[in-house]
């Protein structure tokens, strides 16, 4: 029986004391153990940033890639070996800024990846600049007069792009986040888990004390239908005094991308022989040029 501890590595996290990443890391390890996955069944893909160091602190297969390229590498990995559970852990700058095109494309193609975005609404590792999810007027090092752009709304964008599992977690509620990640792990296509997490060093505004009283759980909302896209849009746009967490939208009706690729019908690509056919069956290709 796999235990959450089996997913820890010998390396101690370099995150600041109180960093929201600890909650996300612990929830992920618990969720993996609860789902019955072993470290060798999992492929963790991250980018660059504080949260992207998570694979280094975890015992599982992993690749820490370039800033922003997390989903692209994960997509290639998933298509090459869909026998492994591919999970991305990267920040809001990585996922929604530098990797914005990959984010929208991953949602659209419904590739079977669990995408955990460690959304602290600030750049931490580069020491406090505004991020795509920083609100208008946010005053960090690169916008002393206040950020001019409006904040990026990942849930609404994912809905508009045709997402099939769109959720928000909160790093301050381990039990709820663990449950949310297990649900995401059970989804057949692309599952977005945008996690609100405080950056205790560079984003004092969105602290535990600010977030805790505001978040409320969707599963407690009697009558909310998470397969109703219009209702989901309304929830995705809700922000301020009340912030919904949990599954905003879910449908299992759309197959994952990898279910639609003919070359993968014979099983994970890496388990197939280098050549799909015998040599004489390749010789016929020459006939095309006669």
């Amino acid at each position: 029986m796999v235990d959450a501890k089996d997913f820890a590595s010998d390396v101690r996290p370099t995150w600041c004391a109180g960093c929201g990443n600890f909650g996300i890391w612990n929830a992920l390890k618990k969720a993996l153990a609860q789902t019955g996955l072993a470290p060798h069944d999992v492929m963790l893909v991250s980018g660059v940033g504080c949260g992207s160091k998570l694979p280094d602190y975890t015992t599982a297969n992993g690749v820490m890639t370039l800033h922003g390229r997390t989903l692209a590498v994960a997509t290639g990995a998933r298509l090459a070996n869909h026998g492994l559970k591919v999970i991305c852990t990267h920040g809001d700058g990585d996922g929604y800024g530098e990797g914005g095109n990959h984010f929208v494309s991953a949602v659209r193609r419904n590739i079977g990846i669990v995408d955990i975005v460690q959304n602290n609404r600030v750049y931490g590792l580069t020491k406090g600049q505004y991020s795509p999810t920083s609100p208008h007027g946010f005053v960090p090092r690169t916008s002393p007069q206040g950020a001019i752009e409006e904040a990026f709304n990942p849930l609404a964008v994912a809905l508009a792009a045709g997402g099939t599992f769109i959720s928000r977690g909160w790093s301050g509620d381990l039990e709820h986040l663990t449950w949310l990640i297990t649900e995401a792990l059970g989804h057949r296509g692309y599952a977005l888990v945008d996690v609100l997490q405080p950056c205790v060093t560079f984003n004092r505004k969105y602290s535990y004390d600010w977030l805790r009283p505001r978040v409320y759980k969707m599963q407690d909302q009697v009558g909310y239908d998470s397969s109703d896209k219009a209702a989901a849009f309304a929830k995705a746009l809700e922000w301020g005094e009340r912030i919904p967490i949990g599954i905003i939208y879910r449908t299992e009706s759309r197959p994952a991308y990898e279910e639609m690729v003919p070359a993968l019908e014979a099983g994970p690509l890496v388990k197939q022989p280098l050549r799909a056919k015998t040599l004489p069956e390749y010789e016929v290709l020459k006939q095309e040029y006669l």
Binding site: S9, V11, A38, P39, H40, D41, M43, L44, V45, V48, K53, P55, D56, T58, T59, A60, N61, G62, V63, M64, T65, L66, G68, R69, A72, V73, A74, T75, G76, A77, R78, L79, A80, N81, G83, L84, N101, H102, V104, S105, V261, P262, A263, L264, A266, L269, V270, Q272, P273, L274, R275, A276, K277, L279, Y282, E283, L285, K286, Y289, L290
Partner: protein, 579 residues
Amino acid sequence: MLVNDMTLKIGGEAGQGVESTGRGFAQALVRGGLYIFGLQDYHSRIRGGHNSYQIRVADHDIYSHDERVHLLLALTKVAIDEHLQEIVPGGGVIYDPALSVDEADLAAQSVKAFPVPLTKIAVDQGSKLMANTAAIGAAAGLTGYDMGVINSVIRDNFGKKGQEIVEANLRVAAAAHGFVKEKYAASFPFKLKKIEAPLRMLISGNQSLALGALLAGCRFVAGYPMTPGSPILEWFAVHSKEYGVVTKHSEDELAAINMVIGAAQMGVRAMTPTSGGGFSLMVEGLGLAGILEVPIVVVNVQRPGPATGLATRHEQGDLLFMLHAAQGEFLRIVLAPGTIEQCFEAGYRAFNLAEKYQSPAIILSDAFLAHSPRALDMDALDLDVPIDRGALLSDEELDGLTERYRRYAVTESGISPRALPGHPNAVYALGSDEHDEYGQICEDVAVRTQQNEKRMRKVEAARSEMKPPQQYGPPDAELTFLTWGSALGPVRMAADILSDQGQSANIVQIMDIWPLPVDKVTSALQGAKKLICVEQNYTGQLATLVRAYTGIEVDGLIRKYDGRPMSPEYILAHLKGVV
């Protein structure tokens, strides 16, 4: 009368079917046992503009076009204006009289006018759309070429559209053939005659490169369309279901190379085709593959830059860029094929080298090579290609592993035995940060030094495996051409012309560009009496590279950077200036 030694050129607007007509006629010539070399020239637009397709025909293997045209099939008046100067005295132009051509203009160049009512014949026998078929029939009539072969190509090319369309096209071709044969054939001295020969393919560099990669076991191709690299992506898309290749048209080139890295890390042979602009976007990914030591293959089919440059045209301006792309130092392997056969060879060798040295391998092709089809014997491409996956640990070896797996174990060769993710005894994470032997992020001075040296040792290991330059011609020649990539074809034709004129020239072509096999290149060049480098860029990038690593300086440089391919005539004309 001159038999089986001519150039036929088709000129018209984009959208008029210049390419399909040219390809159809070329195919018919190859089916008739002749050798051909096809040259395409087109603008970056869908409709309008002037395009051409030039077919050099011979009864022996040829490696390039040349600048003489014997017969022009002009689908527009512009085609005549553009190409009249290229037509040899005694040559001719087939055109529709509706184009209102002044025959005196042609006569002034000693070029014969062959007005043929192509559209009328097409309308009478089939439909207006079949005017190009009429042009093919007319060309066959004028050159006396076998209509049986022409008809076989028509049947194959229109077969999908139904028997009625096939029959109509056959009628159109026959009518045009009959018209021209009776009226003009006797006055045209250049003839084409079917000869008995084994079957041959008409295949381009992009196609043979794709074939080589497929046979190497490439099962994952991701790319974003960019001329002239996109035909490789399209080739795989067409064959993906039949041959089990995941082909992904990605959102951009950043995604393409990073998807390929993800797939290759899982153990699948993976490749991304692009051109220089797309490669520019991939540069950071190249470095990622370098530090992660993931074997990937990147194809850069060059076109003229910088930026958008000349989208549909040709240059060899990316050589030094390939060697230096991305920050930091790491091994990349660069193969620059110069022939269709070498495209196939590079297509499979790149995967073997990438996996053996756990590094990115770049195939540096170019537009001229990619788009120009040539007749090739069936056995010129041996599909039974060697496969070497390098130090890849088997499941059995991993079953027996007793200590923690070290992905980046420090070894003498620099190559660390590789485990694919998924085995319980080899669970590991890689990082784009500097890392220790296990793959964990590490900033330690000793570890950085050790890992950097480990990676760089692979450069020397790979260098020793790179092949010596290809050499052509007599070893004691008075003149030695140094060249690379598709410039080889025109250089070979130029050397043949020189030898026909009683001079002697040989050729040193470097295909294994990087790591440059310095000793092998030095020994190939040492005996050169007069060394002339021929390449299609402004600065002479190969000459620069050779001088930097061997100390050998060329005696002259023949360069071309107008976006159009090198030709034998161009080389000979410029040779006078540099020798």
